[in-house]
Symmetry: C2
Subunit: 286 residues, 2 copies
């Protein structure tokens, strides 16, 4: 199956990410339907012309006609949804997701899924500190990375389809990683950073700080506004890799602590020079 | 002394910050001169009309006519400069600075300074990851905080003059703090955040990360590009307060680590809710 404009795309879970997918795909001329829990989300999306139709019910017609189904749900809800409703998929349908952890999801889904439907996992590395389809905006994909996460069970065709989906929606960089490599990478780049920001924000209860803050603190804690329900689930679903990266960060932070404590200026400067050189490569391509 | 346009202002150290002061003050119609170590900085500033005159020498005329002298030097160079050249100040001159730590500087300066010259410390909380007068830009002051840091030795007049200076240059919020409170605050809001960013950047040497990074990692490590000479000096000059804040952060981070390790989702969510509520107050006023 190649991505083509006669294809019917169904989005399950019309929040910030599902809504942004809908906007991007509808803009490109695809037929987009949605199933989500709140009627207000469907009404909003219809009124903005982001979707062609939608329902808050498990609508057998909408599910049965979809060639490509995108799941934008929390991991445990995604798994439960599949258990209960996978019999409604069209034979030959491809399903994908946006879940932020992979090992704990991908293998389970592929094991439980019907033989005539293929699941190809993906992780759009874009997000905002706001929620809901009302805040959806496909510009969050510009300059961002999209990662396709296949296993040995996936066909070349589905991997290509999923890559094409990321490109069509306007992601800057589309790449392919194994579930294990993905989870390692996400533990360091995303989960650890959120742990740091939240911990920092919790470290001092001085209410006066807000009057004196500079951009460095603002930038570092932007992601401390966090959806606690979603992120606590994602952290626990990737516990082992995350704890490993937290340990690595702690060692590095302790090295800086000891250098300061011992007045070892050369060790401090060495770390600073290393961080400066490395950070140079990480600017957004925009 | 009130700030007025007949006043002659001298900036010692024409780098990013000194140059940005010069731009802001010259734009408002003040007469600005500069003393700095490189002729190329003077030439650049003259060619851009940022200063009226400048020298790489200890020019007795320029120093002797200045009513207000701003020092934008590293702490140890600032102290050495004063020791060698303070006899050249005009009687009644007010001097100020931009140094990022205060206890280790302010008391020493006030103790060594001539009786007929007043030092009122200030910290403009603005900066960039670039250096030199060539990159100076007084827009870095917009929306930023400016802190005046007096001791018991300071006169009301000088405190007011210094506050007015911050306002005239376009800072959003001008406030007054003791050296001790300033250093506590800066240890948490600025130095700790730089320690975290540098440590994170040093924690993994995986060169592939750059292909998969998202905005959270970019934001958190923006300040990992750091002037190692300046920041290592600032860290050591504020060692005690910084180590105290690093300990507080470590406790908070360990609490998150333990919650994840024990699968204690409610403790994780509690920290996330606290950080979300607190962070809401910290957005830039711009």
């Amino acid at each position: 199956m190649k991505l083509n404009k006669n294809m019917k795309i169904l989005i399950v879970g019309l929040g910030l990410m599902g809504g942004s997918y809908a906007r991007a795909l509808h803009r490109r001329g695809y037929s987009v339907s949605a199933i989500t829990k709140d009627q207000s989300s469907i009404d909003f999306a219809l009124s903005r012309g982001i979707i062609d139709k939608g329902s808050t019910e498990i609508d057998a017609d909408i599910i049965g006609e979809a060639d490509l189904v995108v799941f934008a749900l929390y991991p445990h809800i995604f798994l439960k949804w599949l258990e209960e409703n996978q019999h409604l998929f069209k034979s030959g349908a491809v399903i994908t997701d946006v879940t932020g952890v992979k090992c704990s999801v991908v293998y389970k889904v592929q094991e439980m899924l019907r033989e005539d439907v293929e699941f190809i996992a993906a992780h759009p590395m874009a997000g905002r500190e706001v929620y809901g389809v009302e805040n959806s905006d496909d510009r969050i994909f510009w300059g961002a990375n999209y990662i396709v996460v296949p296993t040995e069970k996936n066909t070349e065709e589905a991997i290509e389809l999923c890559c094409e989906l990321g490109e069509v929606m306007g992601f800057y960089d589309v790449s392919v990683l194994s579930p294990e490599k993905h989870d390692e990478m996400i533990a360091f780049l995303s989960q650890l950073t959120h742990c740091i920001a939240v911990s920092l924000m919790c470290a001092s209860d001085n209410p006066d700080l807000v009057h004196y803050t500079g951009d460095s603190f603002r930038d570092l804690t932007r992601i401390a506004r966090i959806n606690d329900e979603m992120w606590s689930e994602l952290f626990l679903e990737n516990k082992e890799a995350l704890l490993f990266e937290m340990d690595r960060f702690k060692s590095s932070f302790d090295k800086m602590y000891n250098a300061i404590n011992e007045g070892d200026r050369e060790s401090m400067r060495e770390m600073m020079r290393l961080s400066t050189a490395r950070r140079g490569n990480f600017d957004r391509k925009l």
